[in-house]
C-alpha cells in the first residue's frame, strides 16, 4: 500500500500480474508432483484465471485509471509496466478461451505426462505477459520465451520431422527477434526510454531521422518473421504440420496472433505519430501472403499441411485489414484474428481426431467420415463454412469488413476474389473426406474433446449471427451496414462454391505437373535467411525513400 500510494495516491491492484503467475505457478506444481490427480490443477488454475480476468475486466470498466500498472512504484518512464486497454482485454479473453479448449482436448491423453502440461501451461502465462506488457524489452523477452517454449512443444513428438521443424522454427524466429532487439536499441539510443506509451508521444519529434526509420524497419522485420508474412513464412507449414494436433491448433489459432498483436502495438500505437506512408506496402504484403498461402494450400495432400498453409493465407487477409489506418477496416482485421482463432483451432482439432482414427494424414486416403463420425463432421463443416466466408458464419463478417475498404479498386478486388476462390477450392478438396461408404474404424470417442470443439463451433455460429451486438460490446463498432440476408452475398458465395468445385474437379484433382511442382516446392534454410535480408532491404528502401 505504501508503494501504491506513491503512484499518485491511488490504490493499485496488481491483478494483471496474477494472469502471468497463476498459470506459471500451476505448471511448476504439476512439474514437481508427477501425478495424474495433481494434473487436474490445470483446470483449477484455468478456472481461477477466468474468474480473475472477468473480475478485472469489470473493475477496469469502472476504474479506467487502473489500466496502467507500474511495478515497484517507479516513475512511469523508468519502471517496467503493464498496460491493459480494450484490445489487450480482447486478446486475454481469446487466450483463455483457446487454452480451455486445448487443455480439454489434450488432457485425457496427456494427464500422466506432467512435462507436457508444464510447458503448455507455462506458455499461457508467458503469452498473457506478452499481451499486457508496456515495455519494449519485456516484449522482446516474452517473444523469445514464447519461441523457446513453442520449439519444445513442436519437438515434443520426438520424431525426426518434429526435431528438424523445431530447429528451423527456433533459428528463424530467434534471428527475427534479435533484429527486433536491434530496433529497440536504436530507439533507446534516440529517446532514452523503452516505454511503449511514452515512446508513442515522443516519436513524432524525431520521426524523420534515419535511425528511427531503421528502428522501425528492424522491429517490423522481426515481427514479420513471427507473423509468417511472405517471404518469411516457410517455418510455419513445417512447424504446424508436424506438431501434435492440439499444439498445431494452439500455434495456428493463437501464437501466430501474438506477432500480429505486436504488429498492432508497434504500427498503430507506437509509430502512428511518425506517419510513415506504408499502408499500401503492408496491404500488398498481406495480399501476396494470402495469395501465396492459398496457392500452396490447394496443392497439398496432407491434411495438416493444407490447414497450415491456410493459416499463412489467413494471416495475409488479417494483414490486409491491419495495414489500414481506417478504423472500420482495422477493426475488421482484429475481428478476423478472433474469428480465425475459433475456426482454425476447430479445424485442426477435428483433423486431429480424423488422423487419430484413420491413422493417416493424406486427404486422398480418408473417406466416409460422415458415416463414421456425424457429430465431428457437423463441427468440421461449420468451421469450413466459416473459413470460406459463408454468410451466417463468423468468417463472412470480418472478410466483409476487410473487403469494404477495397470496394471499387478492381485489381485489389480481383486478387481478393482469387484468394477467396482458392480458399473455397481447397476446402472442397478437404470436404471429400466426408463422402464415401462407412469405413472400418474403431469406436473410441473422447467426450472432453467434443466439449471444447462444440464450444468453438457455437462461437463460430454465434458471432456469425449476432455480430452486431458483439461488435458493439467488444469494439464499440456499428456493423449495421453488413446485411447477412442480402441476396448478393449469398449469390457471391454460391459463385465461389461453383467455380471452386469446377477448379477442383478439372485442375486440382487431375494433379497436373504444375500442381505437383508447387506441392514439391521446398525452400532451404539458407534461402529463407537470404530472403529475410532482402525483405529488410526492401522495407528499408521503401521507407527511407
Amino acid at each position: 500500500m505504501e508503494r501504491s500510494a506513491r503512484q499518485g495516491g491511488k490504490v493499485v491492484f496488481y491483478t494483471p500480474v496474477l494472469f502471468v503467475f497463476v498459470p506459471i505457478l500451476a505448471s511448476l506444481i504439476i512439474y514437481l508432483f508427477k501425478n495424474k490427480w495433481v494434473s487436474l490443477l490445470v483446470f483449477v488454475s484455468q478456472a481461477a484465471l477466468s474468474v480473475l480476468v472477468v473480475l478485472f475486466a469489470l473493475y477496469l470498466q469502472a476504474n479506467p485509471d487502473q489500466a496502467l500498472i507500474v511495478f515497484g512504484g517507479w516513475d512511469e518512464r523508468i519502471g517496467i509496466s503493464f498496460y491493459n486497454d480494450q484490445l489487450s482485454l480482447i486478446f486475454i479473453f481469446l487466450t483463455i478461451i483457446i487454452w480451455w479448449v486445448i487443455l480439454l482436448y489434450v488432457f485425457k491423453e496427456n494427464n500422466e505426462d506432467n512435462k507436457f502440461l508444464f510447458f503448455l501451461t507455462f506458455l499461457q502465462g508467458i503469452f498473457l505477459g506478452l499481451i499486457q506488457t508496456n515495455d519494449l524489452f519485456n516484449l522482446f523477452v516474452f517473444i523469445e520465451l514464447t519461441t523457446v517454449l513453442v520449439t519444445i512443444l513442436i519437438a515434443y513428438k520426438k520424431s525426426g520431422p518434429a526435431f528438424r521443424a523445431g530447429i528451423y522454427y527456433l533459428l528463424v524466429n530467434t534471428v527475427g527477434a534479435l533484429f527486433f532487439l536491434v530496433g529497440i536499441i536504436l530507439l533507446y539510443n534516440v529517446f532514452g526510454t523503452i516505454n511503449i506509451r511514452y515512446l508513442a508521444n515522443v516519436i513524432p519529434t524525431h520521426a524523420n531521422t534515419t535511425i528511427v526509420k531503421l528502428a522501425f524497419v528492424f522491429m517490423i522485420g522481426g515481427i514479420s518473421v513471427k507473423a509468417a508474412l511472405v517471404p518469411l513464412f516457410t517455418w510455419l507449414p513445417k512447424a504446424h504440420g508436424v506438431a501434435q494436433s492440439g499444439i498445431s491448433a494452439l500455434l495456428s489459432g493463437l501464437i501466430v496472433k501474438g506477432a500480429l498483436y505486436a504488429f498492432i502495438r508497434m504500427y498503430h500505437f507506437m509509430f502512428i505519430g511518425a506517419q510513415f506512408q506504408v499502408t499500401e506496402l503492408f496491404f500488398y504484403i498481406g495480399l501476396i501472403t494470402a495469395l501465396v498461402g492459398v496457392m500452396f494450400a490447394i496443392t497439398q495432400k496432407d491434411m495438416k499441411q493444407i490447414l497450415a498453409y491456410h493459416t499463412v493465407s489467413q494471416v495475409g487477409i488479417m494483414m490486409m485489414g491491419l495495414s489500414s489506418l481506417d478504423s472500420f477496416t482495422l477493426y475488421g482485421g482484429i475481428f478476423h484474428i478472433l474469428n480465425h482463432a475459433f475456426f482454425k483451432s476447430l479445424l485442426f482439432l477435428g483433423a486431429g481426431v480424423i488422423i487419430h482414427k484413420y491413422n493417416t494424414k493424406k486427404v486422398g486416403e480418408v473417406r466416409g467420415v460422415w458415416k463414421a463420425m456425424p457429430m465431428l463432421s457437423i463441427l468440421m463443416i461449420i468451421a469450413m463454412l466459416s473459413i470460406s466466408g459463408a454468410p451466417l458464419f463468423n468468417g463472412f463478417v470480418s472478410k466483409y469488413m476487410i473487403k469494404y475498404a477495397i470496394k471499387g479498386v478492381w485489381h485489389k478486388e480481383a486478387l481478393f476474389f482469387l484468394v477467396n476462390l482458392g480458399t473455397t477450392t481447397s476446402f472442397i478438396k478437404f470436404s471429400q473426406v466426408f463422402f464415401g461408404p462407412k469405413p472400418n474404424v474403431q469406436k473410441c470417442s473422447n467426450p472432453l474433446q467434443f466439449v471444447g470443439m462444440t464450444l468453438l463451433a457455437l462461437l463460430c455460429i454465434g458471432i456469425g449471427l449476432f455480430y452486431q451486438p458483439i461488435a458493439e460490446g467488444l469494439l464499440s463498432l456499428d456493423l449495421s451496414k453488413i446485411n447477412i440476408l442480402d441476396v448478393k452475398n449469398w449469390l457471391d458465395y454460391a459463385i465461389f462454391v461453383g467455380l471452386g468445385y469446377l477448379l477442383y474437379r478439372f485442375v486440382i484433382a487431375k494433379d497436373f505437373k504444375i500442381v505437383q511442382a508447387i506441392r514439391d516446392f521446398k525452400m532451404t534454410f539458407e534461402t529463407a535467411n537470404y530472403l529475410f535480408i532482402v525483405y529488410l532491404l526492401v522495407l528499408f528502401g521503401i521507407i527511407l525513400l
Binding site: 523457446v148 520449439t151 526435431f163 533459428l171 532487439l181 533507446y188 532451404t524 539458407e526 537470404y530
Partner: protein
Amino acid sequence: MSPILTFIVILVGLYGLATSKNIIKSVFCVTIIEAGVILLFLNLGNLEGGSIPILDGIVENIVDPLPQALMITTIVIGATITALALMLCIKIFHHYGSIEWKEVLGKEEK
C-alpha cells in the same frame, strides 16, 4: 570500437546464415548475431571515462546502467537458445545421421 563495427559483426552472422550448409554452423551464426547486438547496445550505452553505475555517494558521470542490465538478460536468453538448438542438433543427428541442412530437409517423411 564504434557502433559501425558491431553492425559488421551482425552482418557477418547474417552472411553465415545465408551461406552455411551445416546446422551447427547456423546455430553459431545466430550466436554471432547476438554477440553483435549485445556489443552494439553496450557501445551505445558506454561513456568514455565514466564511473561504474553503483551508487556509493558519487552520482555524477556514471555509465547508463540500463543497457548493461538488459544485455545480461539477453545473454541469458542467448545461452538458453544455444543450448536448446544444440540439443536439437544432437537429436537430429541421431535421427538422420547428418547435420547438413540439405540432407536433413531433403529427406521426406513417409
